[in-house]
C-alpha cells in the first residue's frame, strides 16, 4: 500500500470552479484573496457574474463559493436577498416599469397593466418565446419624466398605456431586422 493517499481534492474542485467562470472574474477573485477582508467582495463578484451571464446560475454560484471559500449557503443567501440579482435567465429584452412614487402618482400602474396584458406575463416572468422579461423596478431616479419605463438600459418617459403596443411592435421589428441581416 502506498504511504498516505492525499485527501486534498482542492486542485480538482478549483479546476471545476474555474471552468464555470470567465478568466477575468477568476483573476479578480484571486486578487481579492490577497487583500484584507476578501469575503467582502462577494457582492462585487456576483455583479460581475451577472453582467457576464445575465443571471446567476446554480453552477456559477457554486464556483464562486468554492473560489472565494465562502459556504455555498451564504452565497445563495446573498444572491437571493438582493433584488438586483436574478436567478433565472432573462428574456432577450427586459422591460422595467418604474413603480416609484412619482411614477405611481402619474399612472405607472396603468402602463404596467397594459404591458402585462400585451405580453401575457406578470412581473418577474419571461414570455414563452424568451423574447421579453417584465420587471417591476424600484425608483429609477428619473422622476421628472414619470411615468418611466426602461427597455434594457434605455430609459423612456413619460409613457402612456397607448404607447405600449407600439413599443412592443418596434422591439419585435428590430429583432426581426437583426435576424434578417444576420442570416
Amino acid at each position: 500500500m502506498s504511504k498516505q493517499q492525499s485527501t486534498d481534492n482542492w486542485p480538482e474542485v478549483r479546476q471545476q470552479a474555474v471552468e464555470q467562470l470567465p478568466g477575468a472574474i477568476v483573476e479578480f477573485i484571486e486578487q481579492c484573496q490577497a487583500e484584507e477582508h476578501p469575503e467582502s467582495q462577494l457582492i462585487a463578484v456576483l455583479h460581475q457574474v451577472q453582467n457576464h451571464f445575465g443571471h446567476l446560475g446554480e453552477a456559477q454560484l457554486d464556483a464562486v463559493a468554492q473560489l472565494m471559500r465562502i459556504p455555498h449557503a451564504k452565497v445563495a443567501g446573498v444572491a437571493s436577498f438582493y433584488h438586483f440579482f436574478r436567478l433565472n435567465p432573462p428574456g432577450q429584452t427586459t422591460i422595467h416599469i418604474c413603480l416609484g412614487t412619482a411614477c405611481f402618482v402619474k399612472g405607472a400602474e396603468r402602463v404596467a397593466e397594459k404591458f402585462r396584458e400585451e405580453l401575457g406575463i406578470d412581473f418577474g416572468e419571461t414570455t414563452k418565446d424568451g423574447k421579453f422579461s417584465l420587471e417591476a423596478s424600484r425608483c429609477l431616479g428619473t422622476c421628472g419624466l414619470a411615468p418611466v419605463i426602461m427597455v434594457d438600459d434605455q430609459v423612456q418617459g413619460p409613457a402612456t398605456p397607448d404607447q405600449v403596443p407600439g413599443i412592443i411592435e418596434k422591439l419585435l421589428a428590430k429583432d426581426k431586422r437583426a435576424k434578417n441581416s444576420g442570416s
Binding site: T101, T142, D153
Partner: protein
C-alpha cells in the same frame, strides 16, 4: 519648509494647472454651448444633442465655439437643456432640444445671432432686457437699511433715462451669501450678464451703481461684495428663471455649472480650497467646531448633528477607522443624491477626505446603488483624477495624511440605506440591520469605529470649512443650518431638483418654485420623506420645512423626496402603495415588521377593494403603533408612518371606502363605476371605438350604454368624451 507651506505650495500648483488648462481651452470671445449630461438628461436624449452639436461645429469649421458638458441643473421636465453662453450677453437656455432644434439653434442663433424663439426655456412672454438686476431675497439682506433698495434703484434708473426694457429688476431667493461680518449689513444685488455682485449699504451706493456701472459700464471695486461666491455662477447662468432664482444653491452649487468629469473645473470654482485649509490648520477639533456652529444635521433623513457624530468618531480609540458615504438612495421618488454624484462628484470626495482627516480614518467607502451606472462611472473617474493629482493616496497635498476611497455597489435592497444593514452589505453579507447600540461610531465596519454620512451631508462640508460654520448656520432655521435639496415630483407643474434654505414654507416650494398643480387642480397633500414619511394636508402648506416642524406635523424630512398629490390621488391608495413597498423591502429579520407590514397591506388591499370592515381602521392603527414601537430598525419603525398620517388627516376618506364603499378621489377601481348620461350623449361613437374591451354599445347619434359586467374601469371613455356625458361615481 513647514508643513503648512508645503500644503499651500501643492494647492497653488493645483490651482495654477487648472487655470492654465481652462484658459487654453477657452480663449476670449469663445461661444460656449453647454449641454446637460446626467441620467435623466440622457434619457431625454442629451447625448444625441451633444453629438449633433459636435457635427455642426466641425462642419462649420469654427474654432471659437466650444462644446461644454455639464451635470444636471435639476429642471427635469424640460430636458435636454442647452445653454448658449456668448460673452457680454445674457445666457440663453433652450429646452427639450432635439436634432431639429440643434440645427435651428446653430444656424439661427450661433451663425446669425437670432435666438431660436420656439425652443427657449422660460416664459416667452416674460419681460427681458439686456441687463438684469437680481435682488437677494434673504431674510436678512437689507433688513437694517433705512431705505428700500429696489425702490431706490427704480427711481435712480428712471432718472438716468433707463426703462424696464433696458434694465429689468428681478427678486431672487436668498443667494446664501449673508454676512460673515454683521447681520443685515447691506443688500446684495447681482448684475447679469456682467456677473457683478454688489453690496449696497446706502442710497448713495445705488446712485453710484446706476451712474458708473450701468450707464458708464465700469466696475466699482469698493462696492463689490467680498462674500463667498458659491452659487454665484449658478445665478449668473440661470438667474432669470423663477424655478431657479427662488432657490439657494449650496450643495448643488456646481450642478449644471461644471463638467462633472473635470477636476480642473472643480478646482476653478474653489474646489479643494476647503481641504487645503483643513490640512493646513491641522486641527480636527477646529473642523468639528465649524460643524457645530454650522448646525449641520445629517441629510440622509435622520437629522443627527454631524458635529456630534464626527466627535464620536474622533474620540473613539482604535488604530483603524473608516468613513462611509451612504449613496444607497432607495426612497422611491428621490433622486437628489444621484444628481449630486453625477453632476459634482468631486465635492463629495472632498467632503469625505476632510471627514477622514477629522476623525482619523485612512480609508473611505462609497456605498452606491448598482442602479446608478452613470454615477458609478463618474465617481470612478473622479477618484482616478484625485489620485493622479495627489488628492487621494499617500500624503495628500504633501500633508503626510494618507487617505483613499473605494466604491462598493449595492444590489437593490432598500434596507441597506439603514446604517447597520449598509455595514453588513459592504462586508459582503445579506443587508440585514442589527440592534443599536453599539453605534457604528463605536463598532462599525469590521468592528472598527465608522462614521457614515449621506451624500448631501458630504457635499456641504467643503462649503462649511471654507466659509465658516457661522456663515452656514445663519442660512436656515434656528436648529438646523444651511439648505436642503428636494426632489420635487408628482402632480406639479415644474418637476425637478430644488434647494432651499431650511425653514422655508412648504408653499414656497410647491407653488413658487414648482408652479402649483397643472390643469388648475388643487393640491391635496404633499408627501415628504418617502416610504417612512407622511402626508401633509394642503391646509398646512405654510408649515416650515425643517426636521422639527415636519416631525411635529406627523411626517418627516427624510432624505428629500417630495411628491405633490392632487384631488385625483386617493390617500388610502397612496398609503397602500408605500406599505406595499415597505413590506416588499422588509428584510424579514424581526417579526413586527415582517408580519405587521404584511397584515397592514392585506387590510388596505381589502379596503380599496370595497371589502373593508368597520373594525379595520382600529386594527390598522393598532398594528401601525405596534410596528412603530417594536421593530428592530428604522425601516420597520417608520414603515407605518404613511398609514398613521393618512389615517389622522384623511380619516374621512378611509371611512368613505369602508362605510359607503366609495372612493372620493375616484382612484380605487373596484369602487368606481362609469355610466353614460343618456341626456348628454350625442352618440359620436368615440368612446365605443376607444374602449379597449369593446363594452360600449350604441348606434350612431343615439345614446350609448356601458356593459357593467364587461367594463374593466380603465376610464378611457371618461377621458375621451368631449360632451361630458360619461359619469364617474
Amino acid at each position: 519648509m513647514s508643513k503648512a507651506d508645503t500644503i499651500d505650495r501643492h494647492y497653488r500648483e493645483l490651482v495654477e494647472t487648472a487655470d492654465r488648462e481652462l484658459t487654453e481651452n477657452r480663449p476670449d470671445g469663445t461661444i460656449e454651448i453647454q449641454v446637460g449630461s446626467a441620467t435623466c438628461e440622457h434619457a431625454a436624449g442629451s447625448q444625441t444633442v451633444y453629438d449633433e452639436f459636435k457635427k455642426h461645429i466641425e462642419a462649420s469649421d469654427r474654432k471659437d465655439i466650444r462644446l461644454h458638458r455639464t451635470g444636471c441643473t435639476g429642471r427635469c421636465s424640460r430636458e435636454p437643456i442647452v445653454s448658449l453662453l456668448i460673452e457680454g450677453e445674457r445666457p440663453v437656455k433652450y429646452q427639450k432640444v432635439d436634432s431639429r432644434a440643434v440645427h435651428r439653434i446653430f444656424t439661427s442663433h450661433i451663425l446669425r445671432g437670432e435666438p431660436a424663439a420656439e425652443f427657449l426655456l422660460g416664459d416667452p412672454t416674460a419681460e427681458t432686457a439686456p441687463v438684469e438686476l437680481l435682488f437677494c431675497g434673504g431674510q436678512r439682506c437689507g433688513r437694517k437699511l433705512d431705505f428700500d433698495p429696489e425702490k431706490s434703484f427704480r427711481q435712480a434708473l428712471r432718472q438716468a433715462g433707463k426703462s424696464d426694457r433696458d434694465v429689468y429688476i428681478l427678486n431672487a431667493n436668498c443667494f446664501g451669501l449673508c454676512g460673515r461680518e454683521r447681520r443685515g449689513g447691506g443688500a446684495h444685488v447681482l448684475i447679469r450678464p456682467q456677473g457683478l455682485l454688489y453690496k449696497i449699504k446706502s442710497a448713495e451706493d445705488v446712485q453710484r451703481i446706476v451712474r458708473e456701472s450701468l450707464v458708464e459700464g465700469k466696475t466699482i471695486k469698493e462696492l463689490e461684495s467680498d462674500e463667498p461666491v458659491f452659487g454665484r455662477r449658478f445665478f449668473e447662468l440661470y438667474g432669470e428663471l423663477a424655478f431657479f432664482n427662488r432657490q439657494t444653491r449650496i450643495a448643488l452649487r456646481n450642478a449644471g455649472v461644471v463638467d462633472p468629469e473635470s477636476l480642473h473645473e472643480y478646482v476653478a470654482y474653489a474646489g479643494f480650497e476647503a481641504l487645503a485649509m483643513a490640512l493646513r490648520k491641522d486641527n480636527p477639533k477646529w473642523v468639528i467646531e465649524q460643524l457645530t456652529q454650522a448646525k449641520l444635521r445629517g441629510r440622509g433623513g435622520g437629522g443627527f448633528p454631524t458635529a456630534q457624530k464626527w466627535r464620536f468618531g474622533r474620540e473613539a480609540e482604535a488604530e483603524t477607522k473608516y468613513i462611509v458615504c451612504n449613496a444607497d438612495e432607495g426612497d422611491p421618488g428621490a433622486f437628489m443624491d444621484r444628481s449630486m454624484l453625477e453632476s459634482d462628484p468631486f465635492s463629495i470626495l472632498e467632503g469625505m477626505i476632510i471627514g477622514g482627516f477629522t476623525i482619523g480614518a485612512n480609508r473611505g467607502f462609497i456605498y452606491v446603488r448598482a442602479e446608478y451606472p452613470l454615477a458609478i462611472k463618474r465617481l470612478h473617474k473622479a477618484i482616478e483624477s484625485c489620485r493622479r493629482h495627489g488628492l487621494l493616496g499617500r500624503s495628500i497635498l504633501g500633508s503626510g495624511f494618507d487617505f483613499d476611497i473605494e466604491i462598493r455597489l449595492g444590489a437593490g435592497a432598500f434596507v441597506c440605506g439603514e446604517e447597520t444593514a449598509l455595514i453588513h452589505s459592504i462586508e459582503g453579507e445579506r443587508g440585514q440591520p442589527r440592534i443599536r447600540p453599539p453605534y457604528p461610531t463605536d463598532r462599525g465596519l469590521w468592528g472598527q469605529p465608522t462614521v457614515i454620512n449621506n451624500v448631501e451631508t458630504f457635499a456641504n462640508i467643503p462649503v462649511i470649512v471654507a466659509y465658516g460654520g457661522q456663515w452656514f448656520g445663519r442660512i436656515g432655521s434656528d436648529n438646523s443650518g444651511g439648505t436642503k435639496v428636494f426632489a420635487l415630483a408628482g402632480k406639479v407643474e415644474h418637476t425637478g431638483l430644488v434647494e432651499v434654505p431650511m425653514g422655508v414654507a412648504l408653499r414656497h416650494i410647491v407653488e413658487e418654485i414648482g408652479g402649483g398643480v397643472p390643469g388648475g387642480k388643487k393640491v391635496k397633500a404633499v408627501q415628504t420623506g418617502g416610504p417612512a414619511g407622511g402626508c401633509i394636508p394642503a391646509k398646512w402648506l405654510d408649515t416650515k420645512v425643517d426636521f422639527d416642524s415636519l416631525t411635529a406635523k406627523g411626517s418627516i424630512m427624510g432624505s428629500g423626496g417630495m411628491i405633490v398629490l392632487d384631488e385625483d390621488s386617493c390617500m388610502v391608495d397612496v398609503a397602500k402603495f408605500f406599505m406595499t413597498f415597505s413590506q416588499d423591502e422588509s428584510c424579514g429579520k424581526c417579526t413586527p415588521c415582517r408580519e405587521g407590514a404584511t397584515r397592514i397591506v392585506e387590510i388596505l388591499e381589502r379596503i380599496t377593494k370595497g371589502r373593508g370592515e368597520a373594525a379595520d381602521l382600529d386594527k390598522l392603527e393598532r398594528l401601525s403603533r405596534l410596528m412603530k414601537r417594536a421593530s428592530l430598525c428604522g425601516l420597520g419603525r417608520a414603515a407605518a408612518n404613511p398609514v398613521l398620517s393618512t389615517l389622522r388627516e384623511f380619516r374621512s376618506e378611509y371611512k368613505a371606502h369602508v362605510r359607503d364603499k366609495t372612493c372620493p378621489a375616484h382612484a380605487c377601481k373596484a369602487l368606481i363605476k362609469y355610466e353614460i348620461d343618456p341626456d348628454k350623449c350625442v352618440g359620436c361613437t368615440l368612446c365605443a371605438r376607444k374602449c379597449p374591451v369593446s363594452c360600449i354599445d350604441g348606434e350612431r347619434r343615439k345614446p350609448h350604454k356601458i356593459d357593467q359586467n364587461r367594463c374593466i374601469k380603465c376610464g378611457r371613455c371618461f377621458e375621451v368624451c368631449r360632451f361630458d356625458a360619461v359619469n364617474r361615481g
